[in-house]
């Protein structure tokens, strides 16, 4: 009995610890678990879509529900699964790679996570309150502004709240990477994952405000009677498309760039070679980030922008293929002459190269503005962006998780199960999406609830659905691997992969202060340099001293929870004024927490030198 109580207390204490934590490693866990859950929800929605499209004239789900499914699948996968899992990786790895004890603003880091989570929860509550948003993840006006019910309102509020979290997270990583690098870690010595996280954070800083503005205009149109997108009142519905894609296109690079970085680190480690053309890789990343802002209208070739605008955006879009090609060749030549070890992480990486190349090639085909008049809004596009996002981002997430799992959780994911999860997913992925290019050209538009007998689309759709089940199987095996590893596998060493960068110089998992002494970085791949010179660890840059640490805080949770409550108030005040009470309560909680944070000095605490020596010796 008493034992059970103690366990309960232990669990409660652990939950409280995670609710108040400002430690980047624990925030990484939070991001990963919640992003993973949303990934499963989004995957379930995808399976329902594929079952509906399995055969012609199917009515497994109704047309209205189908539109909710596709909207929530896209929105969930992009905003609530891919983004947070990427933030999980950035949180887990970037501070360690640059030799920092935490991010620049630990409190904001926590706030960013809770905002994302409550925004995502708010969006998903819509399933239970009369219908999810149904205007596609792109949410084009006027379909969205005139959509009945509150689904779109949930989309607007949910994305606004979680978008604020993402923006905060992005700024935090910018400042971290600029200010918190260890002595000797110059820009051109940063590992590629840190570089790409840096560029991604810059993209977040410039891209998300466009979404924020668009969502605010949408919010006022739907809830407060404005007419920004209402053509009958002098508005313009095309402005939403521009705002959405000015955000939406960089978002694609926000998602893929960090994983390009992860692939670079993984290829380099498992080929036992320095990254080929490091400075070209950095330059290509910067160029992709820059060009990413100049191409948004290629999503709008059929809107009627005219041949001049279409031609300009076509050519600028094609230009992005050049730096991307540079990256592909640099990866190939990193492996050239290397000693390639086909671990699970490397397997996902190796699979990524041809998959993403196909996605890039269909991307160039889509860039051809006139030809896009045929591709646009068909399954060709669906095939294309799944090749990029699954073949690039999801493969990358799996690779990065296998690679950094020991650093995040102290155990190496079972390699055999890793291979077992890979094959069904990989085969299923190509089965599902390759055929969709042809379905599109054969006349199947995107977001179609059904198609008819006699359109020659049945076989292709059946193949696609079968493939989806293979992908689901692969995902389940990966999940099994996570559980299996947690129970059966032994603790991992500090450096299980013969790594090259700083994160492998400290124990797996790292102590909460990361580095006992700030490391001295003497070149690219600092740990590799030390190993080649016969040293065991990194040379410290400072004598052992007290370490200043931040205190945990429940305030980020409360601020975000306040906005969650206020979100309901904003959504339902249209029906009844009494809901403004919820707005007041929620905003009161948020603003009150902010006031508390401002007025109360929290200087953190120090770990004393003596404690560090004891602990350090205890470990070794």
């Amino acid at each position: 009995m008493s034992n059970a109580i103690a366990q309960q207390r232990g669990l409660a204490a652990a939950i409280w610890d995670y609710m108040t934590t400002v430690d980047h490693k624990k925030i990484a866990h939070l991001y990963l678990v919640s992003g993973g859950l949303f990934f499963l929800i989004g995957g379930l929605e995808a399976m329902i879509i594929r079952i509906q499209l399995m055969k012609p004239d199917n009515d497994f789900i109704s047309a209205g529900l189908y539109n909710e499914m596709i909207t929530m699948h896209g929105t969930t996968m992009i905003f609530l699964a891919a983004m947070p899992i990427i933030f999980a990786l950035m949180n887990a790895v970037v501070p360690l790679q640059i030799g920092a004890r935490d991010v620049a603003f630990p409190f904001l880091n926590s706030l960013g996570f809770w905002l994302f989570l409550f925004g995502g929860l708010l969006l998903n509550v819509s399933w239970f309150t009369g219908g999810a948003p149904d205007a596609g993840w792109t949410n084009y006006a006027p379909l969205s502004t005139t959509s009945p019910g509150h689904g779109i309102d949930y989309y607007v509020m949910g994305l606004q709240i979680s978008g604020a979290g993402t923006l905060i997270g992005g700024i935090n990583f910018l400042v971290t990477i600029i200010n918190m690098r260890a002595p000797g870690m110059t820009y051109m010595r940063m590992p590629l994952f840190t570089w790409t996280s840096f560029i991604t954070s810059t993209l977040i800083l410039f891209a998300f405000p466009a979404l924020t503005v668009g969502l605010f205009l949408m919010m006022f149109d739907r809830m407060f009677g404005s007419a920004f997108f209402d053509v009958t009142a002098g508005g313009n519905e095309i402005i939403w498309e521009h705002l959405f894609w000015i955000f939406g296109h960089p978002e694609v690079y926000i998602l893929i760039l960090p994983l390009f970085g992860a692939f670079s680190d993984i290829i380099s480690t498992f080929s036992k070679k320095r990254l080929f053309g490091y400075s070209a890789m950095v330059f290509a990343t910067v160029l992709i980030g820059f060009l990413g802002f100049m191409v948004w209208a290629h999503h709008m070739f059929t809107v009627g922008l005219g041949p001049i605008a279409n031609s300009i955006f076509a050519v600028s879009t094609m230009a992005i293929a050049v730096p991307t090609g540079i990256k592909i060749f640099n990866w190939l030549f990193t492996m050239w002459g290397g000693s390639i070890k086909m671990s699970a992480a490397m397997l996902w990486t190796v699979a990524f190269i041809p998959s993403f190349t196909i996605g890039g090639m269909t991307g160039v085909m889509l860039a051809s503005a006139a030809a896009d008049y045929q591709y646009h809004d068909t399954y060709f596009v669906v095939g294309h962006f799944h090749y990029v996002i699954v073949g690039g981002v999801v493969f990358g997430i799996f690779a990065a998780l296998h690679y950094w799992w020991p650093k995040m959780f102290g155990k190496v994911l079972n390699e055999k199960l890793g291979h077992w999860a890979f094959w069904p997913f990989f085969i299923g992925f190509h089965l599902t999406f390759f055929i969709q290019h042809f379905l599109g050209l054969m006349g199947m538009p995107r977001r179609y609830w059904t198609y008819f007998e006699g359109q020659s689309l049945a076989t292709g759709n059946m193949i696609s659905t079968v493939g989806a089940f293979f992908m689901a199987l692969g995902t389940l095996i990966f999940l099994y691997n996570v559980v299996y590893t947690a129970i059966k596998e032994p603790r991992a060493s500090a450096d299980p992969w013969d790594g090259r960068t700083l994160e492998w110089s400290i124990p797996s998992t790292p102590p909460f202060y990361n580095f006992k002494q700030t490391p001295l970085v003497r070149g690219l791949d600092p740990l590799w340099i030390e190993k080649m010179e016969g040293r065991k660890g990194i040379t410290p840059a400072e004598p052992l001293g007290d370490i200043h640490m931040p205190n945990g805080s429940i305030l980020p949770f409360l601020m975000s929870f306040g906005l969650f409550i206020a979100g309901f108030g904003f959504i339902y005040q249209v029906d009844h004024n009494a809901w403004f009470i919820a707005v007041a309560v929620g905003m009161g909680l948020t603003l009150g927490s902010m006031l508390t944070r401002s007025l109360k000095d929290d200087l953190g605490y120090h770990i004393h030198k003596e404690d560090l020596i004891e602990k350090g010796e205890g470990k070794e």
Binding site: K272, S279, T302, P307, S368
Partner: protein
């Protein structure tokens, strides 16, 4: 065919054959079986891009396969430390410059085709045909302003000439797509009017889709383009101009149907020349290819559609108009005898892809 693309065309014949076997898609629906100028131009453009991309893909895959086989770590090599190369200037220049050249090769015909398809030159002065297209949830209205003819759902055009479309929407954004004749173009509500043209090579009945998510029945917003010879087209126009909306039907049931129609339906549905109304224009309904764009054309389906519109096309605006089963039967009889023209989809020589 113009310029570079014309000259390069024979080069790509083989890739065409290799890639798209005869079974790829349905006649009159697939973009891979072009039956009109736009679709053919775009298929050629696709072929150029596919050829370039395949070239790149083969090179990447050749290096990839070689590297993975040759440099895989073998037993006993665990301690081998490869040479740590930093990079190679000339290699890096090669794989920067060659892609730029390849993209330029693609960019030139892309820009040419983009401007070609944006042609809105001649207009009515020299007798070319302009049709106003209006997208509605979930049907299409076609108005021939110079001829003072309107119809819905089935768009009649002559073969062998460019027919210009002025496109708009009455509610949300739709997109007009006839894959086998031309690419697609959005129809926007408000002032953003778009134009495109259709030029069909062969007579036929071509499948059209809405390609922009427009609500629950987005996937049910199909229409047809009926391409006929120019003589038949002139005939069709003159028949449509001479519709007598007041004509009394022959059978008693249809006469009752006319009365019921005037009572219950005419507020939204016009017969004869009219602007885009709340519901589709029903001129020439006796010669429609489909009911509501999707159902096979027979009386049973028509009655079903009149009685249960929301079950067939969820979210459409024809709801709550309760007519009795008997009235629906009569209305169906009335509508199905509205064959105002001699030119029908059946008279089209090549309607193979239809059923």
């Amino acid at each position: 065919m113009i310029g570079l693309m014309g000259k390069l065309r024979p080069v790509f014949i083989f890739s065409v054959l290799a890639l798209f076997l005869a079974g790829c898609g349905e006649e009159n629906l697939s973009a891979l079986k072009p039956k009109g100028y736009g679709a053919e131009l775009l298929l050629d453009l696709m072929m150029i891009s596919i050829a370039i991309m395949l070239f790149v893909f083969v090179i990447v895959m050749a290096i990839y396969t070689f590297v993975l086989i040759r440099y895989r770590r073998k037993k006993g090599e665990e301690d081998f430390i490869p040479k740590q190369t930093e990079g190679n200037k000339s290699l890096e220049i090669i794989w920067t410059v060659i892609p730029i050249l390849l993209l330029l090769i693609l960019a030139v015909p892309t820009v040419q085709a983009t401007f070609d398809l944006a042609d809105e030159q001649p207009r009515s002065e020299d007798g070319s045909i302009t049709i106003e297209v209006t997208g509605n949830q979930y049907w299409w209205h076609f108005n021939y302003p110079d001829q003072e003819v309107s119809t819905s759902q089935d768009l009649y055009i002559p073969t062998g000439e460019r027919v210009y479309l002025d496109m708009t929407s009455s509610d949300v954004i739709h997109s007009f797509w006839v894959p086998s004749i031309a690419g697609k173009m959005d129809t926007n509500p408000g002032g953003n009017e778009n134009t495109m043209y259709l030029e069909a090579y062969e007579e036929g009945v071509y499948w059209g889709h809405c390609a922009e998510l427009c609500g629950p029945s987005h996937s049910l917003m199909d229409f047809r383009v009926v391409a006929v010879s120019s003589e038949e087209y002139d005939q069709w126009i003159s028949d449509m101009q001479n519709i007598d909306a007041e004509a009394t039907p022959e059978t008693a049931s249809a006469q009752d149907g006319k009365a019921a129609f005037e009572n219950s339906c005419m507020g939204c549905h016009a017969i004869g020349n009219s602007p885009a109304g709340v519901g589709p224009n029903l001129s020439n309904f006796g010669n429609r290819t489909k009911i509501a764009g999707i159902l096979d054309y027979n009386k049973e389906n028509l009655v079903d559609w009149i009685m249960n519109p929301d079950e067939i096309k969820p979210g459409n605006k024809m709801q709550g108009y309760n007519v009795s089963e008997e009235e629906a039967q009569q209305i169906a009889d009335y509508l199905m005898q509205l064959d105002h023209t001699e030119v029908t989809p059946e008279t089209v020589s090549n309607s193979s892809g239809e059923e």
